[in-house]
């Protein structure tokens, strides 16, 4: 009973330590578990595959470093896919730190391909305003982004020569960690301008976008690290997400075990309390 009581009031530092070990060990010694690809990931892959080479893909980096462990690997995988298919990538951000996240992503991905800035990709930087920025892009790209992130005029860039407004964009990929994010792109780029919109987000926010998937307003959805690992799997590429999924697997398992142990101790102690309240059982009482 002492053990059950200890289990019920376990020091949270022990929980922290167990979680730390559960995360660190699979990162050092990967288990290489196979990630099953879901239809919502596969549909994004197919969308990029089916676009003719040279298509304009707008990638919105609407996240910050806090969400990077989940969202950044999907940005890397998606950019790799776009550049492999020779699509033109237009990068922008509705989050202040998003543009810098894109710089970091391009530093990683750019060196693997023979890319020319302004011809194969462009980073337009951050623009505050959420929905209104997207709506304004529907009218004119150069008016919203007269200069790129470095402050250079966008007017002479070959990649934007044929992009007047959102209607010239073949696919929008929003990598989002909150607001403004996927709902804004669905509301404006899809509902108003009928653009194909795909999304990538943290695992905790993915469930709220399922109605958009069912209605077809979202082409597909990458949810959390699992979504990123699925995209890497479908690209046959072992990136950061696939390696981290082992750690997430073990961490989930440990949390589930914690929940089970906590409930076992809860029920044992509850039964004990009830028995104390009712008094000791002495067998059936004979009626007088």
């Amino acid at each position: 009973m002492k053990f059950v009581r200890w289990l019920a009031d376990i020091d949270r530092r022990i929980i922290f330590l167990v979680i730390a070990v559960a995360v660190v060990i699979p990162l050092i010694f990967p288990l290489g578990m196979r990630v099953k690809v879901t239809p919502q990931t596969e549909s994004i892959y197919k969308e990029v595959e089916n676009l003719p080479p040279g298509s304009n893909v707008l990638v919105a980096f609407d996240y910050d470093p806090a969400a990077a462990p989940e969202v950044h690997p999907m940005a890397l995988a998606f950019l790799r896919h776009c550049f492999t298919k020779k699509h033109k990538v237009i990068i922008m951000a509705l989050w202040p730190q998003g543009a810098q996240m894109a710089v970091s992503a391009m530093a990683d991905v750019g060196k693997e391909y023979d890319l020319v800035y302004g011809r194969d990709y462009v980073n337009l930087g951050y623009k505050p305003g959420g929905d209104i920025v997207i709506k304004s892009l529907g009218a004119s790209f150069p008016e919203v982004f007269p200069a790129d992130m470095a402050g250079e005029p966008t007017a002479g860039l070959p990649i934007l020569a044929k992009v007047r407004n959102l209607k010239d964009i073949d696919l929008v990929m929003d990598l989002s960690a909150g607001d403004p994010g996927i709902p804004a792109w669905v509301r404006v780029a899809n509902a108003l301008y009928q653009r194909r919109v795909a999304g990538g987000c943290t695992a905790v926010s993915a469930p709220q976008f399922f109605p958009y998937l069912q209605t077809g307003q979202l082409v597909g959805l990458l949810g959390g690290l699992k979504g990123a690992a699925e995209y890497e799997t479908v690209l046959a590429y072992a990136g950061k997400a696939s390696r981290r999924m082992d750690a997430q697997s073990i961490a989930h398992l440990v949390i589930i075990l914690f929940i089970i142990f906590a409930n076992i101790s809860y029920f044992i102690l509850r039964r004990q309390r009830e028995e104390k309240r009712e008094g000791p059982r002495t067998g059936p009482v004979a009626s007088a």
Binding site: V133, S249, A251
Partner: protein, 214 residues
């Protein structure tokens, strides 16, 4: 007038943006209002930065709780602004280096702490006290298992199709596609109706909290 002018601006701008959907002739006016909005919101960022500076400066001056943390905040605000404006923010700049090797790992670390607190909170709060709590608990465990490869790792390749409903993958997909989507859709519709009604209240001057009123 401090109250009436902002209300008139909100009414006129809001009505034009709504009517633009039905009256194509108003599109150019609406586009102009949107341009003004983008300019105003850019200045709002400056106001936000100034407010952050003012609050933290007062915190240091009055030695309020945790005031030492405000010193690196102000130093960081000025350092990043000066370095960014002075030497640029592109790849390979000092700003980029500071972002990649300071802000990036620090922010990610703070967010990663969530895993520890989620585990601790799940241990203490996730109890099957009632039927509702039990349903929530079972759904959470199934989704957590279905969300990671280990959840289906125990399913052998010869597992019969007619028993697929016993695998966490299958159960998770059903929970997410049916129960979750239905609930989320209801929330989405409810929230959207709330947005419409609040917008109308703002346009009609009934809701004035954006003017600083109660």
């Amino acid at each position: 007038m401090r109250r009436e002018i902002p209300m008139i601006v909100a009414f006129v701008a809001g009505v034009i943006i709504i009517l633009e959907f039905f009256v194509p002739a108003l599109r150019s006016v609406a586009a102009q209002i949107q341009k003004w909005y983008l300019v105003v919101i850019a200045f709002a960022i400056l106001v936000g930065a100034f407010n952050l500076l003012r609050i933290n400066y007062m915190k240091i001056r009055r030695r309020r709780a945790d005031w030492p943390y405000s010193i690196p905040l102000i130093a960081g605000l000025f350092a990043m602004a000066i370095i960014g404006i002075g030497w640029g923010i592109e790849e390979g700049t000092v700003f980029d280096w500071l972002f990649n090797y300071l802000i990036f790992p620090m922010s990610s670390t703070v967010f990663a702490l969530l895993a520890f607190f989620v585990a601790s909170a799940a241990y203490r709060a996730f109890r099957a006290r009632t039927v509702d709590a039990t349903l929530l608990l079972v759904a959470a465990v199934v989704v957590m298992l279905g969300q990671v490869p280990i959840g289906s790792a125990w399913v052998p390749p010869w597992w019969p199709d007619w028993l697929v409903f016993l695998t966490p993958d299958w159960l998770k997909d059903r929970i997410m596609d049916i129960f979750n989507t239905a609930g989320q859709r209801a929330i989405l519709i409810g929230a959207s109706l709330g947005v419409v009604s609040t917008s109308l209240r703002i346009l009609l001057g009934i809701e004035r909290s954006y003017l600083g009123e109660e």
